[in-house]
Symmetry: C2
Subunit: 553 residues, 2 copies
Amino acid sequence: MSKIEIIPLGGIGEFGMNCMGIRYGGEMIVVDAGMGFPEETPFGVDISIPNFDFLEEYRDDLTAIILTHGHEDHIGALPYILKKFNVPVYSSRFTLALCERRLEEYDMLDDVLMHRVEAGDRVSVGGFDIEFIHASHSLVECFSLAIHTPAGTLIHTGDYKIDDTPVIGKPYDLKMLQRIGDEGVLALLCDSTNATVAGRTPSEQAVIPAFEEIFEESEGRLFVSTFSSSMHRLQIVFDVAHEFGRRVCVLGRSMQRNVEIASDHGLLKIPRGCMATLGESRALDDDEICYLVTGSQGEMRAALWGLATGTYKGLEISKGDTVVLSARIIPGNEKNISRLIGHLYKRGANIIEEKRRLVHVSGHASQEDIKIMVETAQPKFVVPIHGEYRMLFRQKEFIKNHVAGYADEDIILIENGEVLELDEYGARIIEKHDLYKTFIDEESLEEIEYDIIRERKKLAYGGMISLVVTVDRKKHTLVGEPQITLNGVAGLDMTNGFAAAARSAVAEAIDEMKPAQIADRSVFKENLRIHLKRYVQKELSGKPVIVTTVVEV
Amino acid sequence: MSKIEIIPLGGIGEFGMNCMGIRYGGEMIVVDAGMGFPEETPFGVDISIPNFDFLEEYRDDLTAIILTHGHEDHIGALPYILKKFNVPVYSSRFTLALCERRLEEYDMLDDVLMHRVEAGDRVSVGGFDIEFIHASHSLVECFSLAIHTPAGTLIHTGDYKIDDTPVIGKPYDLKMLQRIGDEGVLALLCDSTNATVAGRTPSEQAVIPAFEEIFEESEGRLFVSTFSSSMHRLQIVFDVAHEFGRRVCVLGRSMQRNVEIASDHGLLKIPRGCMATLGESRALDDDEICYLVTGSQGEMRAALWGLATGTYKGLEISKGDTVVLSARIIPGNEKNISRLIGHLYKRGANIIEEKRRLVHVSGHASQEDIKIMVETAQPKFVVPIHGEYRMLFRQKEFIKNHVAGYADEDIILIENGEVLELDEYGARIIEKHDLYKTFIDEESLEEIEYDIIRERKKLAYGGMISLVVTVDRKKHTLVGEPQITLNGVAGLDMTNGFAAAARSAVAEAIDEMKPAQIADRSVFKENLRIHLKRYVQKELSGKPVIVTTVVEV
């Protein structure tokens, strides 16, 4: 009997970029195709995606992409994987609607086959038999997956929390999970995002009292910023605004798009007459309007940043306004958020943060939710996914110490690029591939090779020296003086004689070369580079990139 | 009667780089000269300092530098300010000892005049009459300053907490502060670092129980990482280690240096026979040794990173070891710390973080400490200092709402580069200078101009195209083909014809120029750059830096 292979392409040991290959008997599906948010933003990239070239090896096996839900870190890389592997996509109506918008932007919509599935469905997908379990999360129409194979059943939780009272839709379908668990589960691939947090994650409804208080107290305008995908939160804002006689004006492209899609699908229920355009909002009194805006992470391109810095067209935040930051801080965004808050305070706004009042709850399972998940699914093995290594580790530690029947060897820590082989007899890592992430050019949205980023990093670190040398085509001797141009080079300036001295040093080096050494232009160029590099190392502390050009006359 | 001017050069609206000019009647002192930790590390700089060139305007007035305490963000820029303004330095014995080490590294020690002062002293310093108030903080021998002028008294808190039971030394000298407050204080310049935190900051002693538990429980080796300047914490580790029969081995340059200085001065009391060298430590059983190490912020050059990644010479962390992270996370370091923790978990270490057990307390005043400070000093005005804008604002908000007698106009928010004029009649901002920070080259430790960093940022963002064109010196016509070299340019490679097409485009542009346009080389060069830029903008999405060189033959 065959074995199952689990091959994470992203999302293990990092936040975001969730993507996992699952392979059995010559067929392979990919669960999620998410984007990440790399630290390399100074280098002209703000998005990373998994290295899909790695899947080339499995091209013949790859039969489908399954999306658990519509967050960017699960669907954001979909256009890029589909460009390389145009296989059918399976997901919920709402997730597919979000994907359609994205594929439209890439002008790819007509080429992609999308299959809509519903919670409770059992579908034969690319050689696998998959059940779609309704999962509660901060978004709607999310799935956990039960992937059945002759070698056993895998459960992939997707992102989830065990929410007994979500604002939109039903609680997590523990009954279905229990039934599948009772039938036997080989492995549970389980979200670790909140595995360091004790207790249960509060229900999405838990923020309602704080919002009611804030709407009750506030006399000025209200600005609520949250993730544009946090559907339960958006519903609460619409409901509470309506209750307190405020209309809602939605600002920011992704927020407007998501509100439109969700209300088109009847997921978001917007009270009649509650929506206001920006124009209408300006005619309202301060206590009659609530703005729902993007930018809770301090993103400089989002609405809230513009409103805070006076660069949003037609509206700005001013004294007496209240700004509610109804989101958690995604690691890495601390400084930008702090800067945003500084700007808001300077404008005289009142700011309500998560830390001070319960205006945000997580969408991810805390430790006690994880316990419920494991006890219900009853897997033989647990494989922590989605999170930095410390979170994966802490999930392991928690299950080992707090869920009966799980020992060290039952909880398996893997990394991106590893191939985990599973069958009823055990689990073992059989291969390890080095997977570099792929970056996306900020402007063209095209893939950009890692080598390019590496070159940019070198330029950034030490600047650049351009050396141009002219040689006689036949005599192989130096003509005129070498020319040197500096860019971003520290410790000198063009007036302090460095360039003149470096020119002489290069000229001397050439004088000492034999014509044969100059005749081979590529050897000559490299020799020049090495000579100048040695000279520079003596004179400067930095390590500028040296670019040499040889002109023949 | 003259007015007092307060001119912050750093530390307002940012974390670190604390520095403030105080001026009265043609005399000026500078309080603290701290370094900062900029985000520009990809550009070859890891330290920033205030722009001291700004003080040039006050050269004749500047008479002394007063250092409140020995943290890097208060003394780290001392060599740079002294290079430009060699005035006497006043501080405590221990702070001066730390400065001496630093000045030695810069080979400046012999040129600097240092005056040792003690808590309780009243000294005439450069035209000002200054009292040094003993302040409790995470470090030892710290001061708050009472700066007396005929126009009134300023109190500069330095960094402080109201610690009634410090581990080393005495509690904050509230009695002296009270006496000065009773005599009348015009303005209190008050640390805001923890102004968002409710309640009192726990005493330095508060971590002792957790440390005792950890030493009690642990059977393997112990690694404690903390700031090398946290003297109370170091004392606790030595004491508890001794109590539980472990010897202490100190790893990391700054930790070794600080332990040496502090024990030389009798501030740190190391139990006899407690210290162990690295060599000795290896001969001890696992439960007989505790390593005290640098690197709690995930710094890649520090000891803990090396121990976690197997790159520290002669020692590595392994299964069964316990690592105590006895420090807070400085904003901006989250990702590095998370990476460090991942490495430690992978090695099988047990990790104890601040979040899970009380192994760290802050050295800064929380809201109730601030209340004690304000009520004791009884200033007419409060000026929040040390912190990002949100912290300054939150201090203002707290005092306004929770300390009797302070209204909005009594608490004055200022920014770096502003000149705040103060007298008994009021406080007003009379000037605002744009202060760019100065960066320090990572290797040479020399100042690096902001323009260089700006050039590097451009290179980083879009890469670089080098264009070399050869022209006939007399005929002003193109000779041969233009040459193009790319570095870090995205969206193309040298094989896809871009370079060839760009060469043709440049050649065509030159063909269309008149000889006179080519004859003026600088005009010609700039024209070439613009032509190539236009061509590149059509073909590529990025914005590479274009460097042109013209060769004459």
